[in-house]
């Protein structure tokens, strides 16, 4: 990931967040991805989400694996910690990081190759553990850095730039996460900023594993006719099942919603999300029905987007472990070491 420093220009008119920071404070280096890459839109949404949530950048860890998507943490939140790990193994590093310090915000950025091929196992187990992190997959159905091979999310019948047709069924991160007990499962489109920003904010605030699978077209290798991950195809077939507003803890829900139309859900830190149903028959808290709905639309060639499933009742990884509420890294050594007398006593059974 080539690094080009971005000139930091702060003009007086820029608004400041609760920490007195401007959106510039949440930006990163200049992107070196192809012009028009969907990932750059996701980067912009991440910047906006963290800025709006008033999260101090140094309290965020950007975790990634390998691939075009995994390069993007260099392009946002330059004042945050970054961990660009090995291919497909970011979920394990994030698991360790979360175990050590439960208070650090973990943002994972991965791709369809990184999460659904080489790292499929790690992705699945991070979902199972209900690791408290926001996990974004920038999904374009193709390997960019190695120049255009299909990934595991490529649809059957989708045509590669060089003409090859994919015949293997795709792995759908969303359906997979739902089947594995995922507690926050969303899909969006890099071209739908209005949907993406509140989704990322809610995913950051969700206590547990929050998947945001973002269709993020690859302009160089997978944006042609007969690709099912192109801008044109996605724009034509994406279908917002649920609209989501994010409401910070201190704010009141101001918008007026008709009875039965809006559903507020409280998150662990007191913030709320308000879901407005676009489709009458959609229930965001019914795992089985949600999967059926997604599959029914999939059969029609439609891509359902929005917050597709949420369960705020399940304990996260630390809840399951009953870990001390103080981060393990902050426990003094004196508390961790049983001492000389205990060592003498415990050896009785070895004498």
């Amino acid at each position: 990931m080539t690094y080009i420093a971005k000139p930091k220009i702060v003009h007086g008119g820029l608004s400041r967040n609760g920490l007195g920071l401007t959106v510039r404070d949440y930006e990163g280096g200049m992107s070196t991805l192809c012009a028009g890459c969907g990932h750059d839109s996701v980067t912009a949404a991440i910047v906006q989400a963290f800025f709006e949530l008033d999260i101090p950048p140094h309290r965020v860890a950007k975790m990634s694996g390998i691939g075009c998507s995994s390069k993007t943490p260099a392009y946002f939140l330059s004042a945050s910690h970054g961990f660009n790990s090995v291919h497909g193994r970011m979920p394990s590093v994030a698991t360790g990081a979360a175990a050590a310090n439960r208070e650090l915000h973990l943002l994972g950025v991965s791709g369809d190759g990184d999460s659904l091929s080489i790292g499929l196992g790690q992705f699945c187990h991070a979902v199972r553990r209900n690791l408290d992190m926001c996990y974004i997959i920038e999904n374009n159905g193709v390997y960019g850095l190695t120049k255009g091979q299909f990934s595991a999310s490529a649809d059957v019948g989708s045509k590669a730039k060089k003409g090859e047709i994919n015949q293997q069924p795709p792995i759908d991160a969303v359906q997979l996460a739902m089947a594995l007990g995922g507690t926050f499962v969303a899909r969006s489109f890099s071209g739908d900023k209005a949907q993406l920003i509140p989704l990322i904010k809610a995913a950051i605030k969700h206590e547990g594993f929050a998947l945001v699978d973002v269709l993020s077209p690859c302009v160089t290798f997978n944006d042609h006719e007969d690709s099912t991950k192109s801008y044109a195809y996605t724009r034509q077939f994406f279908h917002r099942a649920v609209h989501l507003d994010y409401v910070p803890p201190a704010d009141e829900i101001k918008a007026a919603y008709d009875e039965g139309e809006a559903m507020p859900i409280q998150l662990h830190d007191g913030s709320r999300i308000v879901l407005r149903k676009v489709s009458e028959d959609y229930n965001v808290q019914n795992r089985g029905a949600a999967i059926d709905y997604i599959r029914a639309h999939q059969r029609k060639g439609e891509i359902v987007t929005g917050l597709l499933y949420i369960d705020e009742g399940e304990p996260d990884m630390h809840g399951l472990n009953r870990t001390n509420s103080t981060p393990l890294t902050e426990l003094p050594y004196e508390r961790l070491c049983p001492g000389a007398d205990a060592l003498t006593a415990l050896q009785q059974r070895f004498r």
């Binding site: 080539t2 943490p73 260099a74 945050s80 175990a99 870990t323 001390n324 000389a340 050896q347």
Partner: protein
Amino acid sequence: MSARAKSRINDFVIRLANVNGTGSASANTLLMKSIFRMGVPVTGKNFFPSNIQGLPTWYEIRVSGDGYLARSGDVDVMVAMNAQTYQKDLNRVTPGGVLIYDSTWPRDRQLARSDITILGVPFARMCNEHFSNARARILMKNMCYVGALAALLDIDMDVVRSLVEEMFASKTKLIPANMEAIELGANYAKEHFDCPLPLRVAPLDKTAGHIMIDGNTAAGLGCVYAGATVGAWYPITPSTTIMDGFKTYCERFRVDKDTGERDFFIIQAEDELASIGIVLGASWNGARAFTPTSGPGISLMSEFIGFGYFAELPAVIFDVQRVGPSTGMPTRTQQADMLAAAYASHGDTRHVVLFPSEPQECFELSVRAFDLADRLQTPVIVLLDLDIGMNDWMCPELDWDETYRPDRGKVLDADALEKTENFYRYLDVDGDAIPYRTYPGVHPKGAYFVRGSGHDKYGKYTEESKDYKEVVDRLNRKSQTAATLVPKPVIERSGQPTKTAIVSVGSCDYAIREAIDILAAKGIHMNYMRIKAFPFSPEVEAFLNEHERIYVAEQNRDAQLKHLLTIETDYPKERMESILHYSGLPMHCRSVLEVIAPEVAKGEAA
């Protein structure tokens, strides 16, 4: 009683041939512990199949008043409780030895040997008559042979009783039945044979201040005392009991009695790739973290170990070596991961490796491994083997210095960062090739980007040759710093002028020291160096250079330690000769003698 029976007090080997899953392990431990409590040095080796129930398993107890605790290779008392292996067990008995078998069933006349004493005890019949429950009948047979052996070997019955009481302290109802079974065996032996045998135990005072513990438990305990809070693992023989040990003591000492909150996090990962990823993530985030594994795990972890080396992240990895390659023989011992550990991963790497030789060192070096990993900001691999890890060894009691505080190395905290103008992650500020690090979330100035891709000394991504080389050359210098910080070798001089020495590592230690004593008695004097760490301390090469001939003793086929010495020192390769033992069984002194002085080895075997 055969007249050939050698009269040997506190110097013999008992081998117990059992069937896996019949509960023999606790009886065998009871037998060994009883001898230990009588003040006689003893060691136990478990030879078990990769199986849960039904296959043959053996337990070997060496009693040595002189304190020689390697496997001897002889079998002086065989307890043949497994019909399936009877023929083999009979053949294994050293001439002059004793075989005890279950005489409930008639013995095939062909199964005879005139050069040993054969004693039949109707264990099954006595237990069937005495106990009604089917499971008890099987379990009590084990206690019954302990009783017979106690009478035959003159083991103090009061010691046996007090150990049984301790064993069943939480299930006291079981004590009478177990004692009855023991007495059944003891009484039968006393009524039918001349007790004790010429091979017997006599009280000594050589086990005071010692314990019997396996290396894995000691290593797991070391992790608790080092202040490790995150442990990640994927179950693999023979390393599993490290995490069992860590868990046991964490649950005892690190759970809040009122709230049930835990001051530790153990993660059973989906595989070893995840285990090491978890460890690196936790270490990066400021915790002391570790993973126990075996050879196959090291193979899987290699990419991440290289990442840890290049990104300079601490990690503690225990590799309890077993027989390879591939699945190999998972329940047998070997030292064949030395090269894999020293240079794990693609690219130019060199890792810190520690070689404990017995459980007390497992405890000590476990704590030391965390200090070194933090100080050097790099993965440290502790190489145990199945023999050290899973067998009970007699070793000095574990001791704890209350003044110990973890060496977390060069970490800039919030105050230090506040005063710092600019923090650069990979800058060699002090000239020791070790840069400063920060923990995430501590201070805005401490943020940096960890990557396995090319980076310059400031931590920025680079594809510039000069900047890349500057970093990897510093890592090479850091390795030289490591050589000065790791534990120095243990050097034992013969006290006689000699230009010959044996060099070895880990669990070869007892076999070598026994061989050195035997050789010295024959007028062949040898110095000895046991290497405790890699990269080699300067003392290692200095010791080699003092000698004209070096025997390198190790438990693998390919002379891996000799290769490491060849690569990493300038000592002439042609002056090193290998002593290689790689049968999968623990090393015995004969394998050393056979190379150095074959005529002495022959004498020892007779």
